[in-house]
């Protein structure tokens, strides 16, 4: 299958050029980052852009910076860049867990964090990871005005996000809690590194009494896309994340979250995966928080 006719391809060098293009209010504009998801839709003609804006030249969006306790990652950071970066603390290791297992080498050489967050497919790794890490998504509109949305409010269900068509995702901020913080992501998809049937990301922060003061857990592979497990978080908050507490938390997660069946796995098996993957990521995050990983 080949794409439907495309009438215009442009490659802005700066954000200003990009806004000018967005202002030209052609209809059916597709902003292309890595293109690993969008091109599937374009080739199957489910997406029929007439104007493709390619962000590959926007070096302004390719960066990782840490300032005043916040790490900011540009939208055009590719998975391969995230995996190989040494600027990412163990606290955000989940980002590297996820990035290192998305698709395959060739996909990771192209796919970007910004593209994945905007596409927000229900069985993707990046949205759930950014959700668990309480990422703040920075958007900029044509006029140049920016706004920041918490991940909790950004993902609105499969392929739906709070970004409007005239907005561009600039970067994602991650507040660093420093010592005794750790995160992890893991998924299962029958085939190694395949789309997650179930994937889970978690971020833990322990106080100096080794109690977990801050815990966030997010799942992917559910019908509604990336979703927090607040019930499980409540079970773990303030505890030492013991094996027994983890088991309790994962049972709470299974109660809270509805799963569906398909030819690869039944709803019940998806719940079982929540339990097994859940205890893995929580233990890894805990070890990383205490520098033992």
């Amino acid at each position: 299958m080949y794409p439907a006719p495309i009438h215009r391809y442009s490659r802005p060098l700066t954000l200003e050029e990009l806004y000018a293009l967005l202002n030209s209010n052609d209809d059916d504009v597709l902003v292309l980052a890595g293109g690993q998801s969008a091109m599937q839709a374009v080739k199957s003609r489910m997406l029929r852009p007439s104007h493709v804006i390619d962000l590959q030249a926007l070096s302004e969006l390719k960066f990782i910076r840490t300032k005043k306790g916040t790490l900011t990652m540009g939208a055009m950071m590719r998975y391969v860049d995230i995996v190989s970066s040494d600027l990412i603390p163990l606290e955000l290791a989940a980002l590297q867990d996820a990035a290192s297992r998305v698709g395959d080498r060739q996909v990771r050489n192209r796919g970007t964090i910004g593209g994945s967050l905007c596409w927000n497919y229900s069985a993707a790794c990046t949205p759930a990871t950014v959700l668990a890490l309480d990422g703040k998504i920075n958007l900029i509109s044509q006029g140049g005005s920016t706004r920041q949305i918490a991940a909790d409010d950004f993902f609105l269900g499969p392929l739906e996000t709070a970004r409007s068509e005239s907005e561009i995702l600039l970067s994602v901020d991650f507040k660093l809690r420093g010592a005794k913080s750790g995160s992890a992501y893991k998924k299962w998809g029958l085939i190694t590194d395949a789309l997650p049937v179930i994937g889970m990301a978690t971020c833990l922060h322990f106080d100096n009494t080794d109690r977990c003061k801050h815990v966030r857990i997010a799942l992917t592979g559910l019908a509604n896309g990336a979703e927090r497990c607040t019930a499980a978080e409540a079970v773990l908050a303030g505890t030492d994340i013991s094996a027994e507490k983890i088991t309790q938390a994962m049972s709470a997660a299974c109660e809270e979250v509805s799963t569906y069946s398909d030819s690869i796995a039944t709803a019940a098996y998806r719940h079982q995966l929540i339990k097994t993957i859940g205890s893995d990521v929580l233990n890894i995050a805990k070890k990383r928080a205490f520098g033992l990983a």
Partner: protein, 188 residues
């Protein structure tokens, strides 16, 4: 794929039934409805564009009314073709019951989806179907409860169709035809 739900509409049963059978109201209520055209007493053609995230699928289809008993219940069968996305066929049984001055509307939808839509995975389609149906009934509610639609207007509309028409036979498409459209495109 099966979808069951009920919703309270802020108007009496007769008004709701007529609204559900009135193409002008439906055009505003159905999300993404571009055109509705009555082809015969019980049949309509419609073009509806379903927007899911960045994807827009234009559905051209027909709907047929059957087993229509004013003002309590009726059945609508809609079939739409979405080009490369494939097709969707929907059979919805709608029933209206009095609830004080409002109406409780319950609907049972059986949707068959084909080609790429089917490959989308039932769960995603179910999710979208639910969302589109709620949107439809929200619009319907605002249209009916807001007095922008005085009693007279509905009379006028019906008169222009055909004075002798028996209300029960007037065709209508419910948004449920739109049910079942979502692109599965996987992200990497």
């Amino acid at each position: 794929m099966e979808l069951k739900d009920e919703v309270i509409i802020g108007a009496d049963r007769e008004k709701v039934f007529r609204a559900l059978n009135d193409p002008n109201i439906l055009k505003q209520a159905i999300p993404g409805c571009e055109a509705i055209e009555k082809t015969s007493d019980d049949n309509y053609n419609a073009t509806v564009v379903s927007k899911i995230g960045p994807l827009k699928i234009r559905f051209k289809g027909q709907a047929t009314i059957s087993e229509s008993n004013f003002p309590s219940d009726y059945k609508i069968t809609g079939e739409g073709r979405g080009g490369p996305a494939g097709h969707a066929k929907v059979v919805a049984s709608v029933s209206l019951t009095e609830k004080g001055k409002s109406t409780r509307l319950t609907y049972v939808v059986q949707a068959d989806i084909g080609s790429k839509l089917a490959q989308l995975g039932g769960a995603l389609v179910q999710k979208t179907a639910k969302k589109l149906s709620t949107q439809f009934f929200e619009h319907l509610n605002t249209l009916l409860s807001s007095n922008s639609l005085a009693e007279k207007d509905t009379e006028e509309i019906s008169m222009t169709n055909s004075p002798t028409t028996n209300w029960a036979k007037v065709g209508a498409i419910s948004t449920i035809l739109v049910v079942g459209i979502l692109a599965w495109i996987v992200s990497k």
